[in-house]
């Protein structure tokens, strides 16, 4: 039956939803799909092995790790924090937008940051909240929660939409590997260049989104707090 061939997709979906080990899930899905569609076990191993070897290129990001690791030890994160701290007199929305831009730049230059624990919690969220307190005197709990949500979101926006701009990013290489395996001709340089427009657009959309947050905070707190 043709539909049985979809078993691999079902396995991948269930495995990922249940947070089973991803490597094992993917390999089991591949073996099951091959066996169901009439290949022998050795044939399945052959296809898996052959394409794993030709697609080693998807793992070249490993070659960037030693340089990045040294920079981390020698104060990369600390200097990034210094850069952000230097900004003063910004509104909540502008703080968040600035962070999104820096996070996008970081992603495009392949920094492997975990932004939420390293930047958002210790730095961006307090700064964005602080900017609101300076401007309005105080902010209610609901707005405080909203500001935190926007801070965390800006990390995701910057990270997701800009990461493919780096030639050696895992996502970039996934696109190259998957499509060359399907017979297309393309390379990492072209993929990373094609990723630039959507990265720029995401920054504009994020900036507008944060600007609207500023407007909403203005409206909500205009009756209370010191004049601006």
């Amino acid at each position: 039956m043709e539909a049985m061939k979809l078993i691999g997709i079902v396995i991948v979906i269930i495995g990922f939803i249940l947070k089973k080990d991803t490597i094992a899930t993917v390999v089991i899905a591949g073996v099951a799909t091959g066996l169901v569609s009439g290949m022998s076990f050795i044939e399945v191993l052959d296809i898996l092995g052959k394409s794993f070897i030709t697609q080693r290129v998807a793992t070249v990001f490993v070659l960037t790790l030693p340089a990045i690791g040294i920079c981390e030890r020698y104060g990369l994160k600390e200097k990034a924090v210094d850069l952000i701290r230097r900004t003063k007199n910004m509104t909540t929305g502008k703080v968040i937008t600035l962070y999104q831009v820096l996070r996008a730049l970081g992603a495009a230059f392949s920094l492997r940051l975990s932004g939420h624990p390293q930047f958002v919690r210790p730095l961006i969220s307090p700064m964005a909240h602080g900017a609101a307190v300076v401007k309005y005197g105080s902010v209610d709990e609901e707005s405080e929660d909203e500001i935190k949500g926007y801070c965390a979101a800006s990390d995701n926006f910057g990270n997701f939409y800009a990461q493919l701009c780096f030639m050696g990013a895992a996502g970039t290489m996934l696109i190259v590997s998957t499509l060359t395996e399907q017979g297309c001709e393309l390379d990492a340089l072209r993929v990373s260049l094609c990723a630039i427009p959507i990265a720029l657009i995401s920054i504009v959309v994020g900036a507008v989104h944060n600007h609207l947050l500023d407007k909403r905070l203005d409206k909500k707190h205009s009756a209370a707090g010191p004049e601006t």
């Binding site: 094992a24 092995g49 394409s51 697609q55 340089a67 939409y161 340089l189």
Partner: protein, 306 residues
């Protein structure tokens, strides 16, 4: 073998060396209960990278099966080693200043220049930039020579076994293609996509990416399934530019990531980290942007890829 292939094989051997170092680091950690199996994982992976092309392919396939067994039974764990020392980093940051950004910028810049102006191909360009930027990092930081191996193994261990996921998903895509999975999906999709209607095809592909990513919580997994099943037959086979379709397909999937609690490490755990009252507050904040970005993806792919 032509020169570019030799160069690639050289870089794959370097990658293998990083895997071996990661395995050795695990062996040295006596607090790690499964240290020999963890080391076995990295050593087998290194062997596949270095010797794979000279062996029958099914042997590499069997090795992948062993790797999957090891991770599946939870026998591969990160090992302890010298972590980052915040005081040291602060002191070095003050000593070096903004110069510390140079190696990081050069990673991207050299890769770009080498891919554009040297005849070695885009993937070798990444290897070249990795090696040259490492030299620049040494020059700037005056780090002891063993830091290259120490830091490489530290970060590789940080990235962990999921670092090989993109490569493995491409292999899964190859199995799907050989088995005709793409044909089954595209057969079903052709019921929805009217013949020759590119706009609907773009919409279905982007929506499929977003939906599958939201359900699986992982854009990479969705990409190999949806691109083989819908992207190839309905967009690229009809003249769509593969690079544009691929990039916008994956980031359209990320629009789904922004909306799903399945992507817990992006959407749920940070809410706890920030002590938010509403644990879905991040998803709520992301909703309008995800919707707008999705619409832009569909429009951009439709007008730009064809």
């Amino acid at each position: 073998m032509d020169f570019n292939t030799i160069m690639s094989e050289f870089f794959y051997c370097l990658i293998g060396a990083v895997f071996i170092l990661t395995g050795l680091k695990a062996l040295k950690d006596d607090t790690l209960a499964c240290r020999s199996l963890t080391a076995a994982f990295w050593f087998i992976l290194a062997a596949v990278f270095m010797a794979g092309p000279y062996l029958p392919a099914w042997i590499s396939g069997a090795a992948i099966l062993v790797l999957a067994l090891l991770t599946g039974f939870g026998k591969v764990k990160p090992s302890k080693g010298a972590g980052l020392d915040a005081d040291q980093s602060r002191k070095e940051a003050d000593r070096l200043g903004n110069k510390i950004f140079i190696p990081v910028v050069s990673l991207a810049l050299i890769a770009l220049l080498a891919a554009s102006f040297l005849p070695f191909g885009a993937s070798n360009a990444i290897g070249i930039s990795g090696v040259l930027s490492l030299a620049i990092a040494f020059f700037i930081t005056k780090a002891p020579s063993r830091s290259a191996t120490d830091e490489g193994a530290r970060l590789m261990d940080n990235v962990g076994v999921t670092g090989i996921l993109p490569q493995l998903l491409a292999a899964l895509g190859a199995v799907f293609t050989a088995a005709g999975v793409g044909d089954v999906i595209s057969g079903a999709a052709s019921a929805v996509i009217p013949e020759g209607n590119l706009f609907i095809a773009v919409l279905v592909y982007c929506a499929g990416m977003a939906l599958f990513t939201a359900v699986m919580g992982n854009g990479f997994g969705a990409f190999s399934v949806i691109t083989v099943g819908i992207g190839m037959p309905f967009l690229i086979a009809r003249g769509g530019d593969p690079a544009i379709v691929g990039v916008l397909g994956l980031t359209a999937g990320y629009c789904g990531t922004l909306l799903t609690p399945m992507a817990a490490n992006f959407n749920i755990m940070p809410a706890a980290l920030l002590e938010m009252k509403n644990k879905y507050g991040i998803i709520k904040a992301q909703l309008p942007v995800a919707v707008v970005m999705f619409a832009i993806h569909v429009a951009l792919m439709y007008f730009w890829a064809f």
